[in-house]
Symmetry: C3
Subunit: 345 residues, 3 copies
């Protein structure tokens, strides 16, 4: 259904994606769609048995699926051990490739000491400050601002209205969405009586290669050392990362999660949406934290962690939270009964 | 107290608002205020018995209130069955109407293929990309960016620093506040070993008529099909709406709520503040979810839903959460005692 | 480690910070670092016994610490009763002071009725609307927009891409980070059947002196009266403050907290990260609310408050939440047993 005016024969798709074709090599596809919505010129994919009836009825020209699932499919097939991954790769073929305008828009304000790589595209009203380095083939969206001494590796895509402060270093292939702020001051104060005295935030931010940062997310600069986001980290929208946090390679952080200062998240973790992680927490590699959980102590063992109560009807919930607030007493009452019964715990 | 240099006689107010006046038709009001703060040139309103003593003491020129409440009020009255709704309508009379500058600011960058309706106002440094269509009487605030092929219906107000990506369609009468991002990529990846492979987000965003979107909210584009916000939906600040979410007509979503991918919220729902809704959830029409609840399963019946524990003093709370973590055992101990007592559950 | 090309002798540091030096007055420092990372030209500080072994091994030129801790330190010392506060003050000496460019960038769009103080710096593409007043020595970052009639006191720093609506008043020494929105409409509607009728938000925002507002935070304008942030309040990133909220002096609000309409937070409170406060709540002075708690009733007594369940392994957690949903029944079962045993509660 989604197309970019490009057509692929099934033979060429099989080759581009490294898959085995069962079907007509000359059939053409010009779009990609779900099984249910696919038309006869669309590619589709099947990776989850919940969609089995859609598979049986699909009008798609061709379906990416596993060998096991092939008998359920009566249209052309592209066989893959990992059909969802193959779909991800196929989706890139249907992206609209902007005609690259390798130019600096006349309204952009670029400091004379900034260095721009080859084939860089800089949108209207972009501001690039002193000593900034922008790598080859970067695209900087309209009205974004890049502060002094910051560095963008090659092939970064920065959407409109992004704010990058000074002394931020970002690796190659970054994708940074609108409204993102990187390098704002960490939230550090020392008390002087009732007043707060600001601690200058003298560190920067270091971001590795292949990092994506979703719309409206904020990453603060460090107090003395840098805040660090390692290679391959994927950050969703409206995530808050405080000063001196470190996030390990390939970790995923879903929307609206907040990570407080100096916490250290391992590699290959999945932090679901709206999770809170307090400050000075360590989380080992490979941990999953489920949605809206609060991590208020370090996690030292790989596994899946949760907090919260689950959802109830409010009338029911109100009756239960009354007793939550007396759980301690409830336990004592139970103990008293056990004592009478001489039950040994 | 709030005024816009416009005066209304009570007779004209009664006519404009469709209300019955009890009092002096020639008295003038030039502002609107709470009962407690109103001065003798102000309109006020009474809709909640908590403010009854304020009603008795008010200096307002006139009060909007129900017939039932009229005896408690000694100043001029505008009678309404729905005084809060009448206040909402009255408030619009005291808005400052900007002298409409139907012009495109000289610094705006408008692609030659974009179509602007009649009486459109475009602020400084606005960027409008190719094939964008902007309806009659739209106002686009300074430094906002509207991406390729996007469409704004008539009478939309877009505040400064808004980012609208490509292929976003927005209906009539939209109000979009600063910092909003619409059409950023959904958060979709397929694993390839430890690495994440980005799934191109090929869908767009479809937003109906009469939708308001609060400051800093983000709405992602769909993966294959569109993210959909139906007519009359009101979205508060810092709300996150993930790819392929659908939100039904007239639903209200309060500040800082987060709705994960492919979830489907019914019509006329109220999602209170800081609620989390996980992915692939269905919520029927007319559901209310209270503040900071996590919706981790579909809601199939109209009603009010909650999660969480309620607030306690921390010292007390710590004693109770210890036992929350042993509720399962606590239940087993209770069962053991019941068995001894031969109590049948 | 962080430096700004400025060197200080220990004698001058002692004088600038009002501390007593034990050591070589002529030794020079050119940076500031943690005990573990400090090199021989760095200042460091010690305020927490967790870092005692770092203190013993540090290479720092000089350490700020208390008299009590001095015996554990073999390098030069600057003695302070409040070493963390002294560190905060010292950190300011190592900030990079931008060469102040007291100028209005040629691309800024400044309304002729706006008033700019002395030594004001206005970045590229900034938009300043009618009747705005900007105090002496303010710095307005690139692409920020300041709406009609708004006022900034002296010495404010506004980062790039900030949106300030009309009728916002901000005191002296403000620090406002990128992506902040101040003065957007409060979320107010009256129902008319299933539809929402917008209530015009006619109030403004009043912000005191010495306020810092973190990246991506949003503060709505009042419905009739103003939203008020008092002197010395510090607001972290992605905080949401709804219409007609009042926040008392010197209160700290950590990242991603959300405060709903008309709530009133006292002075000297600490609202930790990701806290939710529902509407029409009053919180007295000196209250601390711990991370991710929901305040769903007013707090009338100074103290520390929490909600939530704490974190568990998900497999364990699932067993317990089942019983949370039957706590009411569990209590009844316990009562029944107690009755049998004639235990008086």
């Amino acid at each position: 259904m989604k197309e970019n005016n490009q057509e692929y024969s099934l033979a060429s798709l099989a080759e581009l994606l490294g898959l085995t074709l069962e079907g007509d090599p000359d059939a053409l596809v010009s779009g990609i769609a779900t099984l249910a919505n696919a038309q006869t010129s669309d590619l589709s994919f099947y990776h989850n048995s919940a969609y089995f009836s859609d598979l049986q009825k699909t009008n798609a020209a061709v379906v990416i699926l596993s060998q096991d699932a092939a008998p359920g499919c009566s249209v052309n097939k592209l066989l893959s051990d990992k059909p969802y991954l193959a779909y991800a790769r196929a989706s890139r073929l249907f992206e609209e490739r902007p005609v690259r305008q390798t130019q600096v828009h006349i309204t952009a304000v670029i400091h004379e000491s900034a260095t721009l790589g080859n084939d860089v595209s800089i949108g209207p009203n972009v501001v690039v400050e002193a000593n900034v380095k922008i790598g080859d083939r970067c695209v900087i969206g309209a009205n974004s601002v890049i502060g002094k001494n910051s560095v963008l590796g090659s092939d970064a895509t920065v959407s409109p209205n992004v704010s990058i402060y000074s002394d931020v270093s970002i690796g190659c292939n970054a994708i940074i969405h609108s409204g993102v702020v990187i390098g704002s001051d960490g939230f550090g104060f020392a008390r002087d009586g009732d007043k707060q005295v600001k601690i200058a935030q003298l560190g920067g931010v270091t971001i590795g290669d292949d990092v994506e940062i979703g719309a409206g997310s904020t990453i603060d600069r460090g107090a003395l050392e840098n805040t660090v986001i390692e290679d391959g980290v994927k950050i969703d929208n409206q995530v808050q990362i405080a000063h001196n946090v470190r996030i390990g390679e390939n970790t995923i952080i879903c929307g609206c999660s907040a990570i407080a200062g100096s916490s250290n998240i391992g590699k290959n973790c999945i932090i679901a949406g709206a999770v809170g992680i307090i400050n000075h927490i360590d989380i080992v590699d490979g941990v999953t934290v489920t949605a809206m959980s609060l991590v208020n102590k370090s996690i030292t063992r790989k596994g899946v962690y949760s907090s919260g109560t689950g959802l109830s009807e409010t009338s029911h919930w109100k009756k239960n939270i009354v007793h939550f607030k007396h759980l301690h007493k409830l336990n004592s009452r139970l103990k008293a009964l056990e004592l009478i019964q001489k039950i040994k715990k």
